[in-house]
Amino acid sequence: MVKITFVDNSGASQIVDAQPGVSLMRAAVDNGVNGISADCGGACACATCQVYVADEWFAKTGAPAEDEQAMLGFTNSVRGNSRLSCQITLTAALDGMVVTTPEQQT
């Protein structure tokens, strides 16, 4: 299992154990994590699944593709360490990762 800590905008955190191979978005939605609505169901088309990835983990999540960057560019909350969680596949290498959700999606 891959252990992920989600921290919301108020600082409250929730730890989720997920199967490797699923997306970070799935792990969040299936475990009822607050602050991720994922309206498009993972099609990289709504930007309501944005997370900020802690610096030490960011590189390990891989580089966002062009489509993902375009969608992130149309959010108000994009930062240098933003990712769309539906575009990150969980692997053992991400065990222990910490991500934060924005105050408001899009």
Binding site: D39, A43, A45, F74, E103, T106
Partner: protein
């Protein structure tokens, strides 16, 4: 409705003669069983002849997502025909008067304009709007007549949406009727109710341009402020645009923020009268308000279609869409696709997957004002429930005759005092 359909024989018409884009079908509601038929028999449907020439209908949720998320193949640009089936909206009615709003541009120009005004829907901005919206909503609801019949569209829906628009542009609230008029003029084309003729339309839009040029001139040399005009005037990427480009961006913001939310406010009354049990559930548990807001936006689908133009050949569900073809993504149909939303004609506040609804579109053009619309509607619900036991609709509403806007002109109600 079934008898209407049997009488009109539309359900038996050969598929190759079926044209779901006829405006009147949207007023009568006849279009819904026709969409159901297409989803069943021919989900990606070619219509060879219509008031707007040949076009494809995409009717399934999954296929609409495929088209909407592929802007490289499916263009929004007005240069290719724009975002509605009616080309007249994209073709300049008078030389040099092209309305090229960012909703009808492809990358990279779309992004330049969108990014300039996007901060208006930031979390900070919405937080500061919340109190204002609440104060105004209270005032409007408190002033409604009791035990008398009135049109909810005029006294509530139009009033609240135009007040908000005036705030977003920072114009005097007394001028809100002008915004409403310009919005209607922009969205009402030949063949629809209320069309005022091409020349009058241009005259009205020119009046709008002059009004907003004055605001621009006042604000471009003043320190930046937090309103849509000031944002465009100060963003280095937009401050040198032509007046017509400027007008275009203003119009999309006026139209986008006006009809859609207005008609959802009117739809709310229709919905609670048709589905009183769902209303009661929300009354008893206010945590259901956001889900109810989403569900009514799905059910209403304020924008029934968005059009794209294929830039290359594309296979969709075994059909070959050819380069240059017009494609209608029928959100109104996808939002009732039985594979995603069973019993989609009903309002159901407990629908588990309502956030997958298509009413705001998906992909890079996804509605910029979504969170503002949801904020206004949530507050309307909260304040309604605080004040009224129920809002009784006295006769069936009068709907607009348009395949571009699912709306209402009349929702006659009475509130007991």
């Amino acid at each position: 409705m079934d008898t209407v359909m049997q009488n009109s024989g539309l359900l038996d018409i050969p598929l190759d003669r079926l044209d779901v884009s006829q405006h009147h079908l949207f007023r009568t509601g006849e279009v819904l069983p026709l969409f159901a038929r297409l989803r069943r028999e021919d989900p990606v449907h070619y219509c060879a002849q219509s008031q707007n020439g040949p076009y494809w209908s995409v009717t399934k949720h999954e296929d609409i997502m495929k088209v909407d998320t592929n802007p490289k193949v499916f263009s929004s640009s007005w240069e290719n025909g724009g975002i509605v089936l009616d080309d007249a909206q994209a073709i300049p009615p008078v030389k040099d008067f092209v309305i090229s709003a960012f909703i009808a541009l492809d990358e990279p120009r779309h992004g330049v304009y969108r990014r300039a005004v996007q901060p208006i829907v930031s979390a900070d901005s919405l937080r500061s709007l919340e109190d204002l919206v609440r104060t105004r909503t209270k005032k409007v609801l408190d002033s409604l007549p009791r035990d008398q019949v009135f049109n909810w569209v005029d006294l509530v829906s139009i009033e609240l949406t135009t007040l908000l628009l005036a705030t977003l542009f920072d114009v005097p609230v007394e001028d809100r009727h002008l915004l409403r008029e310009w919005s209607d003029v922009t969205a009402t084309l030949e063949g629809m109710d209320g069309f005022i003729g091409h020349e009058n339309r241009i005259a009205k839009l020119t009046e709008c341009l002059h009004y907003f040029m004055k605001l621009w001139n006042d604000r471009v040399n003043a320190p930046p402020k937090f309103d849509l005009v000031s944002m465009l005037a100060h963003d280095p990427n937009t401050r040198n645009m032509t007046p017509i480009d400027y007008l275009s961006q203003i119009l999309v913001l006026i139209v986008g923020g006006n009809d859609t939310t207005r008609n959802t406010m009117s739809a709310t009354i229709n919905a609670i009268n048709l589905f009183p049990d769902e209303y009661r559930k929300v009354r008893e548990d206010r945590k259901l308000i956001p889900a109810m807001v989403d569900e009514i936006i799905r059910w209403q689908t304020p924008i029934p279609h968005m059009r794209r133009t294929a830039l290359e050949d594309f296979q969709l569900r075994g059909k070959l869409i050819r380069k240059g073809d017009k494609v209608a993504m029928w959100y109104y149909s996808g939002n009732r696709d039985e594979e995603v939303f069973p019993d989609g004609d009903s309002v159901n506040v407990n629908r588990p997957n309502v956030s997958r609804q298509l009413s705001f579109g998906f992909g890079i053009h996804r509605c910029m004002g979504m969170n503002i619309a949801k904020l206004q509607l949530r507050i309307l619900w909260e304040e309604m429930l605080d004040r009224f036991e129920f809002i009784e609709m006295l006769k069936p509403p009068v709907r607009t005759m348009s395949n571009q806007i699912n709306g209402y002109t009349e929702v006659m109600v009475r509130i007991r005092g």
